[in-house]
Symmetry: C2
Subunit: 141 residues, 2 copies
DNA sequence: TCTATTGATACTATACTGGTCCGGTTAGGA
DNA sequence: TCCTAACCGGACCAGTATAGTATCAATAGA
């Protein structure tokens, strides 16, 4: 549907689970997939970019699984979204203005750039540990 | 690609043109399509929801065309985006939480709701006349 | 009536989303 | 050592959205 697809949404829920189960050692994908009701094979694919980005680390073999490789305080939702959506931007125009011949004097460009910044600032201000917190914090409505 | 597709982008540029050519009478689609370098047949489709929403009005026949039916101060970019993207939300979860069985205690829902609000507030604060202004106003970077 | 212009509908190519499937690799434990 | 739980990687697929194109009808001015 959009900028925030199931990739980000599932991925974030996965990371929240990992943060709740810290110091249990590696958590296997299947158990998270099951209790988050996310198709395991699909989740398995989301996990790849998260690992490549250094957000989680994996352990292979029996008793293997995944764990956060950093404190959940240090993982912003912005980073998760960028990694999982594979782009940092809502719009090509703001990310690569050179692709648009009109960008130099496009009257709408500053609007989209401003929107981008609003989104960016908001997402950067929320971390995985905020998300995992039991009570609704101040980023909520 | 996303929440802000060519529909919103073309549509907004179209409205900005109309606002610049106010009191010329109805402006024909072809001339705007040409100088904005937007495929005319595509733009013709975007114009329909804008008319239905009461943002523009049309005149048929020779010397026909389109004009803003309100002051460009009274048309927010939020309205344009909502009308042209056909939804008000980046996410199903925030728009129709009842569709998701988990929404009641989904830890990520407040995050997406907050993001939604940030986007909404920003877009509501910019009008077509702001966009048409020659100098970059304060909504810009 | 001729012609410019909107209005409405149907069609299409391409890419993205949200998956599934399957064979292979790694490593812990009996 | 061998079994098996778990990760790894790639191919594949159906459905939907995006960005158009094409065609024809309706309307109004000259």
């Amino acid at each position: 549907m959009s900028f925030i697809s199931t990739r980000s949404r599932y991925g974030l829920r996965f990371l929240i689970e990992l943060s709740k189960r810290r110091n249990e050692g590696p958590v296997d994908l299947g158990s998270i997939a099951e209790d988050q009701a996310i198709p395991e094979t699909y989740l398995a694919k989301l996990v790849v970019p998260l690992r490549n980005a250094g957000i989680i680390r994996s352990a292979r073999g029996a008793k293997g699984g995944y764990e956060l490789s950093r404190s959940p305080d240090d993982i912003t939702v912005l980073e998760v979204v960028e990694v999982l959506e594979g782009r940092s931007s809502l719009l090509e125009c703001t990310e690569r203005p050179e692709l648009c011949a009109r960008s130099a004097d496009c009257p709408t460009l500053p609007i989209w750039t401003g929107l981008e910044k609003a989104v960016h600032d908001y997402l950067k201000g929320v971390s995985v540990s905020d998300a995992a917190a039991p009570r609704a914090p101040d980023y909520a409505i």
